[in-house]
Assembly symmetry: C2
Homo-oligomer: 362 residues x 2
């Protein structure tokens, strides 16, 4: 096996309504069945008229650009300064929703294709029906990524081959089942194509010849298979955004104990976490002994049925009004520290006869 | 320009002390100056003896594996269930620090090369000095990434070419300066190599022929240039970890106003954010009028010099001890909501003669 990566020069400037299949077939009469075409998304967007007019410069341009970005954004993932990392309506997470101002007039912005998988299927079908070519088509674009400097080209859309090569079930020569099993081969093919395309769109299409994975029949499931559900992603939000979300969660902490018994060690960690910041001599006591607790809580008004633990809180004596307010604030600090340990709690009056000024049901 | 990607089969099983340069030169007598060698990191690790013995199975194996992982980990970036995404001592962010149990005996684990850039330089130097070949060397490994399913091969080390191709300053045909400027070409080359290597290490080396970026003289700065400083990364922590950090930050909120005047709109947002969760009829009043504030705060004991604002808080009447504790907890909620808006605050007794029970200096 041996791969070749070939440039397709001479396609020239693409404008709305152009027949990409004809342009490519004319520029690369040497195309063969089984070739993989890596097509820069920008010429697809231009052919599909995915452009918007904006002022050439000034604050009007920035305002117009922000409006376009908002329209292309499903949710903001992270931002710092002028940088906006967003999830597009396709599900891709990209800076500025992939909106591009390069290789286009200063008065226009290029948006991503509306449905890159559909664009890939349409181009593949046109090449097959009108030019007798059975190829795979990858629509590619340039993306940044966390943790590593530099950008790489990846696939926005694909037709004619699987997006992922699955090694599951393969056994290595030592009899181990493979751990890293699902390779995003269309991203690797898109990156390989970028190596000869360059950034100025004189060469908007590359051909990878010799890759065995090209289907002869169906279009395949598309690059949609590469989009990870944000709910399953460990990095669905920027660090600063998630930290702020934690602060907001603390501010609006629900008042109610969790159904599961709290790990005593976790409770002690939470008490220790706030020890330095609460008023000196404030005492928090985790009452874990069933019997004592049963006796104590029996008489606490509003004791929640599903509570499984109790923390007694006593402010430093003497207690005036300001001390009690401060004590309440310190109790809320403890409740937040408990929440950070995954323990929810409810603020209650102390059991009658206890030396405490308040209790937390956990 | 035209690239070829060629496999190097027949290298066979690599063990500690093997001369990789000799193995590769023998398996690929057709190598030429200017070729880019993409070498799977595992054979580099094996040749360098980066293996550890572990029990073949059972809890002992898991315990031993955890110990190895801890040793390879500079910091934990994210975890869920058994998954650990960590930053290695090299700076790479990878699942399980790149520790691999495939293509090796069940009683051994393969670690990443200690210094992949040094490994690449050594292999390149050996090929030049002992085999008269002037090539670039990329040490590659397989990594996952946020937001996209499937894995790709990227570069851990490189010698003989720049890790990044920089397009800065280039002007497109429309006269726009390019926006996406720094391409991680060695990652794209590593991915291109993976397309023909496969996962079972029968083909641990691929050759990319025809890439113009290969240096003839120095080794270059290495793949180290691809490691982004965590402080500059918008995704330096997992979402769950950052959210928990926000909760912990809320629990230990510093007591002191910020130096900068608070945006009144942000203060109103914070008050609104807690409106639903504080005791009914609790009143928070943002006193923004300079004169009033000056008169009020003059007499507040411990009023911080650099405070620039005041929030008065009054609990619902009638006020008993439990109300004051709850009120203090609600004040702390507000302080946390202010912190989420970037506003720090200090808890103070109310100005004498004011109807409030407490004040926040902001």
């Amino acid at each position: 096996m041996r791969l070749e990566i070939l440039p397709v020069p001479g396609i020239g400037d693409v404008t709305e309504g152009d027949d990409l299949a004809a342009l490519i077939a004319t520029a690369a009469p040497w195309l063969r069945d089984g070739d993989v075409l890596v097509v820069t998304s920008k010429i697809v967007s231009k052919a599909e008229g995915r452009l918007v007019d904006v002022p050439a410069d000034g604050p009007e341009r920035l305002a117009a650009r922000d409006e376009v970005l908002a329209a292309e954004t499903a949710r903001v993932v992270a931002s710092r300064g002028a940088t906006r990392i967003v999830q597009t309506h396709h599900g891709f997470v990209m800076a500025s929703a992939g909106i591009d101002a390069s290789n286009v007039d200063k008065t226009r912005l290029v948006l991503l294709p509306k449905d890159p998988d559909a664009s890939a299927r349409a181009l593949r079908a046109a090449l097959r029906e009108r030019h007798g070519l059975d190829v795979a088509v990858i629509i590619s674009d340039t993306m940044g990524r966390p943790w590593r400097n530099g950008l790489t080209d990846v696939a926005l859309g694909v037709a004619g081959m699987p997006a992922i090569r699955d090694h599951r079930g393969e056994i290595d020569p030592y009899g181990n089942e493979l751990q890293l099993t699902q390779m995003a081969v269309v991203d690797e093919l898109a990156g390989a194509g970028e190596l000869i395309k360059g950034k100025c769109d004189q060469v908007p299409v590359a051909v990878v010849r010799g890759y065995p994975g090209v289907a002869r029949a169906d279009h395949g499931e598309g690059a949609r298979a590469l989009v990870r559900d944000a709910a399953l992603d460990l990095f669905s939000l920027g660090t600063a955004e998630a930290t702020a979300a934690g602060l907001r969660a603390a501010a609006t902490l629900a008042d109610g104990p969790g159904p599961a018994p709290a790990d005593p060690a976790a409770v002690e960690r939470a008490i220790a976490a706030v020890a330095e910041v609460v008023a000196p001599d404030t005492v928090f006591t985790h009452v874990t002994d069933e019997e004592v607790r049963a006796g104590m809580v029996a008489a606490v008004p509003g004791w929640p049925e599903r509570a499984t633990g109790l923390i007694l809180g006593a402010p430093p004596a003497p207690v005036d009004q300001a001390d009690l307010v401060r004590f309440g604030a310190d109790l809320q600090r403890l409740r937040t520290a408990l929440a950070a340990e995954g323990i929810s709690s409810a603020l209650l009056p102390p059991p009658p006869g206890s030396p405490a000024s308040a209790a937390l049901a956990i």
